[in-house]
C-alpha cells in the first residue's frame, strides 16, 4: 500500500487542488477573515485544519482549495496581507509530508469482526472502540489510503466517518544547514511562496 499514491495537485473535476498553509496569530475572527478571502473568489474549501503552532499565541492552518493555480496564488498573497496572518505558503508543488486522520464506525458482527480486523491490520489502522454491533477504527495516512480503506469497509456497513482533512508540512532539509521548505521558491512553479524575510504584507 503506497503512502504517496496521489499527487497533491490532482483533482477529479479538472480544477487544480492546492494545499496552502498559513501561520496565524490566535486572535478572534482570524478564521472568518481567512475564509472570507476564499469565499470572495467562490472557492470551495475542501478541507481545513487548524491547530496550535510551535509558538504560543500562534496557530497553523492547512487548507485544501480547488481553483485555478494563479488565482489561488493571488488569494495567498491577499491572505498574507491580513494583519493576523504571519506567513502563507502554497506548498502544493513543494516536497511536503501530508497526512489525514479518519475515525470510522463500521458494523461488525461476531462473524465479520475477524475480516474487518484483518483489513485494519493491512492498512496499519487501529481498532479504537468496540461494541456489540460495531467497531471504531482510527486510520492515518494520505487521503487515497483512507479512501481505499473506506471502500473496502463499505460492504460491512460504514455507519459514520469523521475525517480531519489534510495536514501538511514541508519536508526537513536532507543536509545540515540546508534550507527547509518554507524558505524556498519552488523553481518550476510560478506560484508565489512566502519567504520568512519578506517584507510582504501591507
Amino acid at each position: 500500500m503506497s503512502m504517496n499514491g496521489s499527487t497533491p495537485g490532482s483533482s477529479s473535476n479538472g480544477l487544480s487542488k492546492r494545499t496552502v498553509i498559513a501561520l496565524v496569530q490566535d486572535r478572534p475572527g482570524v478564521l472568518a477573515r481567512v475564509a472570507g478571502l476564499f469565499r470572495r473568489r467562490g472557492f470551495n474549501i475542501a478541507s481545513l485544519v487548524v491547530g496550535k503552532a510551535e509558538r504560543p499565541g500562534f496557530s497553523r492552518m492547512t487548507f485544501e482549495v480547488e481553483g485555478d493555480p494563479s488565482i489561488v496564488s493571488h488569494v495567498a498573497r491577499q491572505l498574507d496581507k491580513l494583519i493576523d496572518v504571519v506567513e502563507v505558503t502554497d506548498v502544493t508543488d513543494l516536497d511536503i509530508v501530508w497526512r489525514e486522520m479518519a475515525l470510522m464506525k463500521v458494523s461488525a458482527s461476531a462473524e465479520t469482526r475477524g475480516e474487518i480486523m484483518q483489513l485494519v491490520e493491512i492498512f496499519r489502522a487501529k481498532i479504537v472502540d468496540i461494541g456489540a454491533e460495531a467497531v471504531g477504527i482510527e486510520a492515518t495516512g494520505d487521503p487515497d489510503k483512507i479512501d481505499s480503506m473506506i471502500s473496502l469497509l463499505r460492504p460491512f456497513g460504514v455507519r459514520e466517518v469523521m475525517r480531519t482533512g489534510r495536514v501538511a508540512m514541508p519536508r526537513a532539509a536532507l543536509e545540515v544547514g540546508g534550507i527547509d521548505g518554507f524558505n524556498v521558491k519552488s523553481p518550476e512553479s510560478t506560484l508565489w511562496v512566502a519567504k520568512s524575510t519578506d517584507t510582504g504584507s501591507v
Binding site: 496569530q25 475572527g29 472568518a32 496581507k81 504571519v86 506567513e87 510582504g200 501591507v202
Partner: protein, 563 residues
C-alpha cells in the same frame, strides 16, 4: 503625559489615546451605545468634534481629511444603524487606500449576540471593507488597540480600520498605559525596494526608447512627487496619471501626458499603447485604465512599483516588480538611471496631443460642464483643492482641472461613490481651513449627501460647490444612449429641487449660472464670498463625455468625438 498610570474609564482611555496619536478633529454622530464616550469629550478640548448629519457623511469627511492631509481621519458612530451607515465610506476609503479610523459603540457585552436594540455585528459586516478591525472586550485593551489601529491605517498601503467598543467597556475602569510601540508579527510594511529589483528596473529604463510612467495614488500617499519629478526630468520620461494620480505632477508640465483610460485623454491612452516600457508608480492597472487586459499595451514591458505585493501580476503581468514604499524606491532608482533624452518619443507624444486634442470644447452657445471646470481651473490657477463626486462631472473635472500643486485633487476612484463630493469636500476644508476648496458635484450625487450642508453651515466651512446640473444621471444617460440603444430609463431627474433656494434654506449663499457669459463672474462671486456657496450651473442635458473607450474594450474602440 499626566494621566499615564492612572485609573481611567474606557471612554477616557479612547480620548487619551487619540490625543497621543495627534488627532485634533473627529467627525461623528452620537447614539445610545457610544454616549459614554461623548460623555467625556468635554474633558478633551484638543479633540474638536464636528457633528455630522449622517454617519456616511462622517466617514467621507474623515476620508477627505485624511487623503488631503496625509493624517488619519477619525469618525465616531453608534452601534447598529450608525455603524452600518459608515460602510460606504469605509469601502470608499478601502478602495482608494485612505487612512481612516472609525470608532463605533456596540451594545453592552452581555447583550452581544442576542439581537439587542441597535445591535449589528459590525466587525463581521466590515471585514471585507476594512484593512483590519477590532472588537475590544476589555477597557485595558483600548490603548493598545488604538495604537495598532493608527499604525495599520497609515502605514504600508493605507486603509480604514474600525474599532468596535461595547457600551459598558467605555465605562469600565482600567489603568491607562500608552504602549511604546506595536507588536504585529503578521504586519511588516515594506520600506526600501530590493536593490536587485531596483537595478533590474533601472536596466529596463536605460534600454527603453519609448518609456511612459503611469503615476498613481501611491505617489501622493507616499509624498513622492518631488522624486517623481526628478526622475522624469532626469531621464525625460512622459508621465500619464491615473484618476487618483492627478496632481502627482503639475498638469502643465511639458512631460505630463494626461490621464489615460475609459474617459481619459486620448493622447494618454495612445501614449501607453505606443510605449515600449510602462513604469507603474503606485498605480494598480485598474480596469478603467486597461480595458481588456489581454489587449492592453501589448508593445511594452512593464515595471510595477507598489507597496502592496498582492497588486503585482493581479491585472497586468510585470516584467520587473519592485515592492516598497514609492518614495523610498524612487530615491533608490534615481541614481541608478542615467541622464537621458527621449527626444523623438517626446515629440511623438506632443504630436499625439495635437492630433488628438481631448481638451477642446466644441463650439456651442450653451453652457457645458467642461466650461465650468475649465473656468474654475483658470481662475484658481489650479491651486487650492478640487473634490468631485462620480459620473460625467467627475470625468470633465479630471480632464480639465489643471493642477499646479501636489495632492490637491480628491475623488472617489475605486468604489465610484456618488455623494462623496459633499462630505469629502467638508473634510478637505477642515484639513485646509485657509485654502479654497471647490467641490464639483453632479445633481445626482449632491442630493445623496447634501444633508451635510447643515454641518458645513454650522462650522462655517467655506466650501464652494459647483453643481453641474443637467437634471439627469448624466453617465447613466450616456451609457443608455451609447450602449443600450437609447433605451432611456430612470435617467432623468424631473423633480430636482431649486438648488439656490435649497442653499438658502440651509443659510448658505446660493447662486445660479445658466450661460457662458455669466460663468466667470459667478465663479468669482462665489470665491469672494466669505463662507460656503452652492452654485447651480445649469448645463446642457444631453452632452456625453468624450473620448470614450467602452468598458472591457481596448484602444482600438476609442471614440474621440460624437458620431
Amino acid at each position: 503625559m499626566s494621566n499615564e498610570g492612572n485609573e481611567l474609564s474606557g471612554a477616557q482611555i479612547v480620548c487619551e489615546s487619540l490625543v497621543r496619536e495627534g488627532v485634533d478633529v473627529v467627525f461623528g454622530l452620537p447614539g445610545g451605545a457610544i454616549l459614554p464616550l461623548y460623555g467625556v469629550l468635554n474633558q478633551y478640548p484638543e479633540l474638536r468634534h464636528i457633528l455630522v448629519r449622517h454617519e456616511q457623511g462622517g466617514s467621507h469627511a474623515a476620508d477627505g481629511y485624511a487623503r488631503s492631509t496625509g493624517k488619519v481621519g477619525v469618525v465616531f458612530a453608534t452601534s447598529g444603524p450608525g455603524a452600518t451607515n459608515l460602510i460606504t465610506g469605509l469601502a470608499t476609503a478601502m478602495m482608494d487606500s485612505a487612512p481612516v479610523v472609525a470608532i463605533t459603540g456596540q451594545v453592552g457585552r452581555a447583550a452581544i449576540g442576542r439581537d439587542a436594540f441597535q445591535e449589528t455585528d459590525i466587525t463581521g459586516a466590515t471585514l471585507p471593507v476594512t484593512k483590519h478591525n477590532y472588537l475590544v472586550m476589555r477597557a485595558q485593551d483600548i490603548a493598545r488597540t488604538i495604537r495598532e489601529a493608527f499604525h495599520i491605517a497609515n502605514t504600508g498601503r493605507p486603509g480604514p480600520v474600525l474599532i468596535d467598543i461595547p457600551k459598558d467597556v467605555f465605562a469600565e475602569l482600567a489603568t491607562f498605559n500608552w504602549p511604546e510601540g506595536v507588536e504585529l508579527p503578521g504586519y511588516r510594511p515594506p520600506g526600501d525596494g530590493a536593490i536587485e529589483d531596483v537595478k533590474a528596473a533601472a536596466e529596463l529604463i536605460e534600454k527603453a526608447e519609448r518609456p511612459v510612467i503611469l503615476a498613481g495614488h501611491g505617489v501622493l500617499i507616499s509624498k513622492a512627487w518631488d522624486e517623481l519629478k526628478e526622475l522624469v526630468e532626469k531621464a525625460e520620461i512622459p508621465v500619464v496619471t491615473s484618476l487618483l494620480g492627478i496632481s502627482a505632477l503639475e498638469s502643465k508640465h511639458r512631460l505630463n501626458a494626461g490621464m489615460p483610460g475609459m474617459h481619459g485623454h486620448a493622447y494618454a491612452s495612445l501614449a501607453l499603447e505606443e510605449a515600449d516600457l510602462i513604469i507603474s508608480a503606485g498605480a494598480r492597472f485598474d480596469d478603467r485604465i486597461t480595458g481588456d487586459t489581454k489587449r492592453f499595451a501589448q508593445k511594452s514591458k512593464k515595471i510595477h512599483i507598489d507597496v502592496d505585493p498582492a497588486e503585482i501580476d493581479k491585472n497586468v503581468k510585470a516584467d520587473v516588480a519592485v515592492i516598497g514604499d514609492l518614495k523610498a524606491v524612487l530615491t533608490q532608482l534615481i541614481p541608478e538611471v542615467s541622464e537621458n533624452t527621449h527626444t523623438d518619443w517626446v515629440r511623438r507624444v506632443e504630436h499625439l496631443k495635437s492630433e488628438h486634442p481631448s481638451m477642446t470644447i466644441r463650439e456651442t452657445d450653451e453652457l457645458l460642464g467642461q466650461h465650468v471646470v475649465k473656468t474654475i481651473s483658470d481662475i484658481t490657477g489650479g491651486r487650492g483643492h478640487m473634490v468631485t463626486g462620480v459620473g460625467q462631472h467627475q470625468m470633465w473635472a479630471a480632464q480639465f482641472w489643471q493642477s499646479t500643486e501636489p495632492n490637491n485633487w480628491q475623488t472617489s476612484g475605486g468604489l465610484g461613490t456618488m455623494g462623496y463630493e459633499v462630505p469629502a469636500a467638508m473634510g478637505v476644508q477642515v484639513g485646509h481651513p485657509d485654502q479654497t476648496v471647490w467641490s464639483i458635484a453632479g445633481d445626482g450625487g449632491f442630493q445623496m449627501t447634501m444633508s451635510e450642508l447643515a454641518t458645513i453651515k454650522e462650522n462655517n466651512l467655506p466650501v464652494k460647490f459647483a453643481i453641474l446640473n443637467n437634471n439627469m444621471l448624466g453617465m447613466i444617460t450616456q451609457w443608455q444612449d451609447m450602449m443600450y440603444d437609447k433605451d432611456f430609463y430612470a435617467n432623468a431627474y424631473t423633480g430636482n429641487p431649486d438648488f439656490v433656494k435649497l442653499a438658502e434654506a440651509f443659510g448658505i449663499k446660493g447662486l445660479r449660472c445658466t450661460s457662458q457669459d455669466d460663468l466667470e463672474a459667478t465663479i468669482r462671486e462665489a470665491m469672494e464670498h466669505d463662507g460656503p456657496v452652492v452654485v447651480d450651473f445649469v448645463i446642457r442635458a444631453d452632452e456625453n463625455v468624450y473620448p470614450m473607450i467602452p468598458a472591457g474594450e481596448s484602444i482600438e474602440q476609442l471614440i474621440e468625438e460624437p458620431a
